[in-house]
Amino acid sequence: MEEVLKAELARLNSPFPRERVPLEEALSSERPGVPLTNGGFQPFKREELELLARILPSEERKELRLPILLALDPGLGRGAVKIGGRAEARAVGRLLGKEVKGGELVIHRPELLEVRRKLPTTTYYLFLP
């Protein structure tokens, strides 16, 4: 059982984006997306990129790196999600109509649902042990 558990924990963040690309670069790309660690590709929908471009000022478009990581940290409590990075936190904050202080934002399940509804391909889950 423990071997299964260890394998399961190793599988939690697999596959994971090999790199994160700035929004500006994704917008100008013909096939926006990022390569994954298993050799796959995570495509971004153009309408999501345009939505992010609309809500962010131009200087933050270079700073925002995609996909936005939604970090599930059991240490924060059940259903809490941490979004790191100043531009990423601001983008999500603007989507939710929440004010962001500092470079980090913590959201909860109903807000997570809204974020995933609006940005299904440009966000990615990250499990923090």
């Binding site: 059982m1 423990e2 558990l5 995570q42 997570l112 499990f127």
Partner: protein, 217 residues
């Protein structure tokens, strides 16, 4: 009950195993909760899209019936046989928490009258309308198929994760905790036995000393 040696080493090892199992349980439960949320979101979209697709298919069938009634069944079927078949679909995969779900990108399915391939001269505009309605329905059906496949993949992963969470919650963690409790109690007991033994040895030594001292005196 697992085979256990009641030692301090085993106690420390068990504590580490419990900590790992609890961490795994918390993370897998988070994953399960997020999967449930994603699954129900996909289900909601399926209902929406399926309703739209069925409405569109209804419209297409009534256009087809109208065409058959006015132009004739045999003629309509002949035009259908002449029509070019096939649509351009691009499929790829995206991942939701490691679960591969399909992405189907459908190009423009509505074709021009010339692009359909049947003879334009005898065919009425009703046939063009019916074709157009079916072409619209095709795009919607491809979207429904994409979502249904995603729901299937998520449901399978959800079931798998739920089994792991339950196994941890109801089997592994309680078993490890019981083992920890057993070792703790056994070590306490051994300590008490040792203490009692020391007391007995001390009492015996004192007694011997007293007897020896009395004999000397």
């Amino acid at each position: 009950m697992m085979a256990l040696s009641p030692t301090r080493m085993e106690l420390l090892r068990l504590r580490r195993r419990i900590a790992l199992a609890r961490k795994g349980h918390d993370l897998l439960r988070e994953k399960m909760d997020a999967l449930v949320m994603e699954f129900f979101e996909v289900l909601r979209k399926i209902y929406e899209k399926r309703e739209g697709a069925f409405d569109q298919l209804g419209k297409a069938h009534s256009s087809l019936s109208l065409c058959m009634a006015s132009w004739g069944t045999a003629e309509t079927e002949q035009a259908a046989r002449e029509a070019r078949k096939g649509a351009v679909l691009e499929t790829s995969l995206r991942y939701i928490m490691g679960v591969p779900v399909p992405v189907v990108e459908v190009g423009e399915t509505v074709r021009t009258a010339l692009g359909r391939g049947y003879s334009l001269h005898p065919s009425p505009s009703l046939l063009d309308r019916a074709s157009e309605e079916f072409e619209r329905a095709l795009k919607m059906l491809a979207e429904v198929a994409e979502l249904e496949e995603a729901a299937r993949a998520l449901a399978w992963e959800l079931e798998r994760t739920r089994r792991r969470v339950n196994a941890l919650e109801y089997i592994l963690i309680p078993r490890l905790e019981a083992a920890l409790k057993f070792i703790g109690m056994r070590l306490d007991e051994m300590e008490r036995e040792h203490f009692f033994r020391l007391k007995r040895i001390k009492a015996t030594l004192e007694r011997r000393e007293a007897v020896g001292g009395g004999a000397e005196g």
